[in-house]
Amino acid sequence: MHIKTEQVERHTLAVIVDNEPGILARIAGLFTARGYNIESLTVSEITADKAVSRITIVTSASPPVMEQIIAQLDRLVPVHKVADLTVLGDHVERELALVKVSGTGDRRIEALRLAEVYRARVVDATISSFVFEVTGGIAKIDKFVELMGEVGLVEVARTGIAAISRGAEAA
């Protein structure tokens, strides 16, 4: 016997929650407990009184499981709202990465030239290194990091996806 796998689709969810202790563990634990997968998870307070947080989750699942994920999230007591941005239509997804490269001579010049193409900003520099700040969609950042690999990549820190729907309305 072999374990079966099923066809999955990628969805981006915006989950508005009460910012109470343990909320992140509740959300992340729900995903592990029920066997759902998390590709990216970001969380930050979004109100001045720090009472409410927005969690952006990128997950992959078959359509019936996707429906379950949303229903299960919505069932948690501190959850205000779950919006499936992928289903709701057009939305913007952005990620920020800090990319450290080291090198001298041509490699250093090439790194700077590539950074300009990708509109990455230099946020730290030494004689032998740069830290670039780059924002964009996942594919752009993946590609930038891949290119930096050729010219002296040291390490990468990525924020994960923040996403919001296009247009005037809240999701």
Binding site: M1, D18, P21, G22, A25, Q68, A71, V77, V79, H80
Partner: protein, 582 residues
């Protein structure tokens, strides 16, 4: 000017304000201030169990038989971890319960202090919600909110973890008004257009079936009455999950019996052949559906449930109504009557059902002088039905035989661990039920293996003079395990023999119970009568045919139409796909 009180006093006062009469618990270092506050207040009855797991099951038994939430009080560390099984049990069976756990003082949290466990971490995914209260000023409001969450929507267990310093520190407490939670707002009322649609579908159906579950019981006695009314006016036959037994009377001609793995032939065939399945407070559990792609293949399906996550989880439905099932039933009955629908002609459907019923799927061969377990349940039923007893069970063959052969006429009379399947549930649940229903006859139908999992609770019943009865179907096997080993592993009985059994009669007597041994067929009725005649707690060791198995049975992963009716249809092995299923 309101005076400040200790957190422990606030807790006790809040519990009193919430109408709590009984708390099941076990003291320990981290709850001493609460125990002292309860001792001084004298307003809440505390039932001292002998193990914290039993406190949770007793609270479940109390809750399920009374409709009120069960309350548990245990200490930190092992007190809390011992309660985890019962908390999970209550989550899976949607039982309203509030569990108060002591915690080490705030300053010691995270230091691996004596009797420290991460209770909120451990119970986060086995409770409906949980709290760690770090401020006594928040405590009263948290307790009220916890009861609101435990008892509303889809009920479940809520854990409140209270560090010892928060129990001692003082603050003001005022009884809060009605709770309007900012995020938690269960949808109770049904969408009327959807109920209209349900009524249309019921009126148009030729082969309808009502498939009911524990949600009807949770909704309250009125929901059971409305279910009876809907069945009467539509003529639809009724089947139920294990958890829903009693919502519809077993003596009614429209009753098909339980469905699913050990359900009746007529219930499963009717599900399979129906053109409309109306699920009412049931959740298409794997024990019910069998092989999903063969489940009720030609029906349209309606699902009424208060929990949106239950909808389309296992089975896709054509119409989902998110509401308290009692409200939805009330609306459906009202709309049906206002439209003056005539009762649909279901003669042909009834004729087919009668044909399946005629198979007599619950019949069993007698075994000479030996007592067949099914016979024992029927004798118990015949001897007690006039008193409408509350029946609790452990988990295994005896549980399924009780579900099949004991008839229930009313809700809140059948207490069993359905979702989690917790051996050791029955005795403490019976204790809780007896406390909530002092005049009732309460019987734990048990197996000789399960009963040993919380046997220490014999002492609790003795201490509080609770006249509960334990009726053990003793076949010297973990019978359901052995049955599966016969079906799947060519009768290799790996560890399923109950060796070194105690003498249950003497064991009962040692705890101050009356013990009765029933060994032969001709002793059965007299033994049961002697059990019922005794005013106090009785343990009956009823020796039954050792190798009897529970049928009908749909093997894991099989379709409703692939039901095994008798033992001689059983093969000795299964393929890996089947072996991997539970």
């Amino acid at each position: 000017m309101m005076t400040e009180k200790s957190g422990a006093d606030i807790l006790v006062e809040a519990l009193c304000d919430l109408g709590v009469e009984v708390v099941f618990g076990y003291p320990g270092g981290a709850v001493l201030p609460i125990y002292d506050a309860m001792f001084r207040s004298k307003r809440i009855r505390h039932i001292l169990v002998r193990h914290e797991q039993a406190a949770t099951h007793a609270a479940e038994g109390y809750a399920r038989s009374t409709g009120k939430p069960g309350v548990v009080l245990v200490t930190s560390g092992p007190g809390a971890t011992n309660a985890v099984t019962g908390i999970t049990d209550a989550l899976l069976d949607s039982i309203p319960m509030v569990v108060i756990t002591g915690q080490v003082p705030t300053a010691l949290i995270g230091t691996d202090a004596f009797q420290e466990a991460d209770t909120v971490g451990i119970t986060r995914h086995c409770s409906k919600h949980n709290y760690l209260v770090k401020d006594p000023a928040r405590l009263g409001e948290v307790v009220h909110e916890a009861f609101h969450i435990a008892t509303s929507g889809r009920p479940g267990p809520v854990v409140i973890d209270i560090p010892k310093d928060v129990q001692v520190a003082t603050a003001r407490y005022q009884k809060p008004g009605p709770i309007r939670h900012k995020t938690y707002r269960p949808q109770v009322k049904a969408d009327q257009a959807q109920v209209e649609q349900l009524v249309d579908m019921l009126a148009a159906a030729e082969r309808p079936i009502l498939y009911t579950g524990g949600g009807i019981i949770n909704s309250g006695p009125a929901a059971s009455q409305l279910l009876r009314e809907l069945a009467r006016i539509t003529g639809a036959p009724v089947t139920s999950t294990l958890m829903g037994l009693g919502a519809f009377p077993a003596s009614d001609p429209q009753w098909l019996g339980m469905l699913g793995m050990h359900g009746t032939y007529e219930a499963n065939m009717a599900m399979n052949q129906a053109d409309l399945v109306v699920a009412l407070g049931s959740r298409f559990d794997d024990r019910v559906t069998g092989r999903l792609d063969a489940f009720s293949p030609n029906s349209r399906k309606v699902h009424v449930d208060i929990d949106r996550s239950s909808v389309n989880k296992n089975v896709r439905v054509d119409l989902a109504i998110i509401a308290d099932v009692g409200h939805a039933l009330e609306d459906a009955v009202r709309i049906w009557k206002s439209r003056q629908h005539p009762k649909p002609d279901t003669t042909e459907w009834q004729r087919r059902i009668a044909g399946w019923r005629a198979v007599g799927c619950l019949s069993f061969p007698e075994a000479g002088d030996a007592i067949m377990p099914q016979r024992a349940i029927r004798a118990l039923y015949d001897a007690t039905k006039a008193r409408q007893p509350i029946i609790t069970t452990e988990v295994g063959q005896h549980q399924m035989w009780a579900a099949q052969h004991f008839g229930f006429e009313k809700p809140n009379k059948w207490l069993t661990s359905g979702g989690l399947g917790t051996m050791g549930y029955g005795l403490p649940a019976a204790i809780g039920a007896q406390l909530g229903n002092p005049g009732a006859l309460v019987i734990d139908i048990a197996g000789e293996a399960s009963i040993q999992m919380n046997i220490q609770e014999l002492a609790t019943a003795t201490q509080y003079r609770l006249p509960v009865k334990i009726f053990i179907l003793n076949n010297e096997y973990m019978g359901m395990v052995r049955q599966w080993q016969e079906l799947t592993y060519e009768s290799r009985y790996a560890e399923s023999y109950s060796d070194s059994l105690p003498d249950f009669v003497k064991l009962g007597e040692a705890y101050g119970w009356k013990g009765i041994l029933i060994e032969h067929r001709h002793e059965l009725e007299d033994g049961i009568a002697a059990m019922l005649d005794h005013d106090g707690p009785v343990i009956v060791d009823c020796r039954v045919a050792k190798l009897a198995n529970c049928f009908p049975m749909i093997p894991s992963g099989a379709a409703h139409t692939d039901m095994i009716l008798q033992a001689n249809e059983v093969s000795g092995t299964m393929d890996d796909e089947a072996k991997a299923l539970v």
